[in-house]
């Protein structure tokens, strides 16, 4: 069982869709989230030093890390979390926060001082060396910060390394390595030595080596940190694509919050050996657990993390297809907008009606709003990142209509809301959400509406 990630909207195919549910309940992604736990970490401690056990006891009693330093260095303190199958779980923290130590305990490269780590059915923290090797061969592979390729072997032999350890026969492992090399886009480089490749290509080899073994769990230790920003971005996007097609469980270590926010389905923030918060990127951003996390997320590129759904306003100026121009005008005057969106009965967005057009129509005695309906309105999907909203927002004279995957209107984003979200201004009642000042003065509409009508009254929405 694996979860289907909600991949790619039409407007921005490469964007990592945030898999959260918008606050208003308008579901965005059709997910089949499995609750099966791939990796489980419970109360794990790692202490370096001769009196490690004493240090753990003292920490459990509530002493701080600094108080126990004379006895030993506590690298990881009471870490607990579960990673669901098919999830990208990011552990984020600055250097020295213990994240690299933590990931090395997940596959037993470092034994935990206390606590338990479970991968599938195997209790990593209490297992024979032979069984541990078997788990590493079959269930969990790893990608390293500095690639850790075998410099005396060709790309193909590097990728085949894990299979070789598994005992796969040479012909078959070469065949499978070739497929994986193609998967990461390195065809034609099979016979080169690692030294002949650029950093990004080396890490593709590292990734291919881990993928070739076909383990369920992939540990990535600062895998993209040694790459320059453009390559890093490319690798992140490739990882997302691979993940959506292969459905691996990925535990990704990084010190880069933007990377964490981009990749993570969930993020654990670490500080001084402790996990201070676990949550979705949006939760971390909008509801930081403490000052440290808040400080940390202060610099994050919010435009890449927040989605349309998280900042949109309820759409108030909505008219139905049966409404007449007078009802539309009244609505626009009351809402102080220059236009109203027209939706079908099931709230499917049909288009927009402008105040001036409505007034002209009403003065001429017209009834049918559809004759003045502007159908050329481009809606945005609710899982679109803010960074992808700027161009539509500039091009549109109206607030951006936000629709769900069925084309139903779920909200609007006026430009000022977009700016407020970027500046982390909490929306308040005082904050006017009017985007476009009415092009017809309200008094003119009022005057018109108070005129006695010759025709039958229209039905309000």
């Amino acid at each position: 069982m694996k979860r289907v990630r909600c991949v790619a909207t039409v407007t921005n195919p490469d964007r990592n869709p945030q898999t959260s549910t918008p606050p208003d309940g308008g579901g965005v992604c059709q997910e089949t989230v499995t609750d099966s736990i791939a990796v489980k970490v419970e109360h794990v401690y790692k202490v370096f030093g001769r009196r490690a056990a004493d240090v753990v006891t003292r920490l459990e009693r509530g002493e701080t890390r600094d108080e126990v330093t004379p006895l030993g260095t506590a690298a990881v303190i009471d870490a607990s979390f579960s990673v669901r199958a098919g999830e990208i779980f990011v552990v984020m923290g600055l250097s020295g926060s213990g994240k690299s130590t933590l990931i090395r305990m997940l596959n037993g490269l470092l034994p935990a001082t206390s606590g338990t780590v479970t991968i599938g059915d195997d209790l990593i923290t209490d297992i024979s060396p032979a069984r541990l090797r078997e788990v590493r061969r079959r269930r969990v592979s790893m990608v390293f910060q500095h690639f850790a390729l075998l410099p005396h072997r060709s790309v193909l032999d590097n990728v085949a390394y894990g299979l070789e350890i598994q005992g796969v026969a040479r012909a078959e492992r070469i065949e499978r390595a070739r497929e994986t090399v193609a998967l990461v886009g390195l065809d034609g480089w099979e016979d080169k030595l690692p030294d002949e490749l650029s950093g990004g290509m080396k890490q593709r080899v590292g990734l291919a080596r881990a993928l070739a073994t076909d383990t369920d769990v992939l540990l990535m230790d600062e895998a993209f940190s040694a790459l320059d920003p453009l390559i890093r971005r490319e690798m992140q996007e490739q990882l997302i694509r691979l993940q959506s097609s292969l459905g691996k469980t990925i535990i990704f270590i990084t010190h880069d919050l933007n990377e964490a926010m981009f990749l993570g389905d969930r993020i654990a923030v670490m500080r001084d050996g402790r996990i201070v918060q676990v949550g979705t990127p949006e939760e971390i951003l909008t509801d930081p657990a403490n000052d440290y996390v808040e400080q940390f997320v202060h610099d994050v590129d919010r435009a890449r993390v927040l989605t349309a759904a998280s900042v949109m306003e309820p759409a108030r100026a909505i008219v139905g297809p049966a409404s007449g121009p007078r009802a539309a005008l009244r609505l626009m005057r009351d809402q102080q907008t220059s236009a109203a969106f027209m939706t079908a009965r099931d709230r499917t967005l049909l288009g927009a009606v402008r105040d001036w057009d409505a007034l002209t129509l009403a003065r001429n005695g017209g009834r049918d709003l559809e004759t003045i309906l502007d159908r050329d309105v481009t809606p945005v999907r609710s899982d679109t990142a803010l960074s992808d909203l700027f161009v539509p927002a500039v091009e549109s004279a109206l607030p951006l209509p936000v629709v769900d995957e069925n084309g139903r209107l779920v909200g609007v984003i006026p430009r000022v809301t977009l700016l407020a979200a970027l500046g982390n201004v909490m929306p308040t009642e005082e904050l006017a959400v009017i985007e476009q000042p009415p092009s017809v003065v309200a008094d003119a509409i009022t005057d018109f509406l108070e005129q006695p009508t010759s025709s039958a009254e229209e039905v309000a929405v």
Partner: protein
């Protein structure tokens, strides 16, 4: 009185050696016969063919390792040795150096691996190496003479003891210096420690180990005069003889031959460490065999 009291360390060692001779006499006889046999066969190989065959082979080796110019230089140098009539003595010395260095390498590389793997082994081995390298060679020549009798064998033993240290040290250093992350990668994919050693640590430490082997060979050569003192023939014997007769001419000619052989051996073995010439060929072979060797599974037709 304080002046009359001595710690009897020397006496203790002496009686220890005597006990050794009595109890393990068979063992030392065995070692003596083994080393003598090895020396005799190498000497036979070097001295049986006409000298120009050896010169051609050496020149080819030199050309492979360092290029044609060095091959030519080798030929000229070796012909010079023939010219000063030191050929037989030189081949005896070469045989002694090759045998002693080979045994020293066979012992020092595994000890170096052990020292790299175990902190305890490393702490124990280090002071022993210090003693072996700094204790004046004459001191252990005496027991070597008693245990192995006069001849080439005590010379070989003294040479092995003196020359082993850099082999052990550089093997340990080379393995410890292998990028920790690459070793971790081996572990993370479920490789056994032996396989990590064979497929990752040894190949990556090879340049350093080769530098150690080069040092072992050079130190072996520096011991030839000492070996000459205890009855080994060769250039060492010539030098000792010239010293006894104050024969400047003979001494210089023998010394010159030592220098020529030393330069030849150094340049050829150093090319192993720098990754040029011969080294590349050997290493490619090794890498290829290491990559394909562990296929204990029957290959399946794709």
């Amino acid at each position: 009185m304080i002046t009359t009291f001595r710690l009897p360390i020397g006496d203790a060692v002496e009686s220890g050696i005597e006990a050794l001779t009595e109890t393990f006499g068979w063992f030392f006889s065995f070692v003596r016969i083994l080393f003598q046999g090895m020396y005799d066969s190498v000497e036979f190989v070097l001295l049986t063919p006409s000298f120009w065959i050896i010169i051609i082979v050496a020149a080819l080796l030199g050309a492979l390792a360092r290029g044609p110019l060095f091959g030519l230089g080798t030929a000229v140098g070796f012909t010079l040795i023939v010219g000063v009539d030191q050929w037989d003595a030189s081949m005896e010395t070469l045989a002694l150096v090759l045998v002693a260095a080979a045994i020293a390498i066979l012992l020092s590389v595994p000890i170096g691996i052990l020292a790299a793997k175990s902190r305890i082994a490393s702490t124990v081995i280090k002071p022993i190496l210090d003693v072996m390298q700094t204790m004046p060679a004459f001191v252990y020549l005496i027991p070597a003479l008693i245990l192995f009798r006069v001849g080439v064998v005590p010379g070989i033993v003294a040479t092995i003891i003196f020359a082993m240290a850099p082999g052990v040290r550089l093997t340990e250093l080379g393995i410890r210096r292998v990028d920790h992350e690459i070793v971790e990668a081996g572990q993370a994919f479920g490789s056994t420690p032996g396989r990590i050693l064979r497929q990752i640590q040894l190949p990556l430490a090879l340049p350093t180990i080769m530098a150690g082997i080069n040092q072992v060979i050079m130190l072996s050569l520096s011991m030839v005069v000492i070996a000459g003192l205890v009855g080994a023939q060769g250039l060492g014997g010539q030098v000792v003889a010239s010293l006894g007769r104050i024969d400047i001419a003979l001494g210089f000619e023998a010394g010159l031959a030592v220098v020529i052989i030393a330069i030849f051996l150094d340049r050829v073995t150093a090319s192993f460490g720098t990754g040029k010439g011969l080294f590349i060929i050997i290493r490619r072979r090794w890498a290829a065999s290491a990559a394909s060797a562990p296929t204990d599974v029957v290959p399946v037709k794709p």
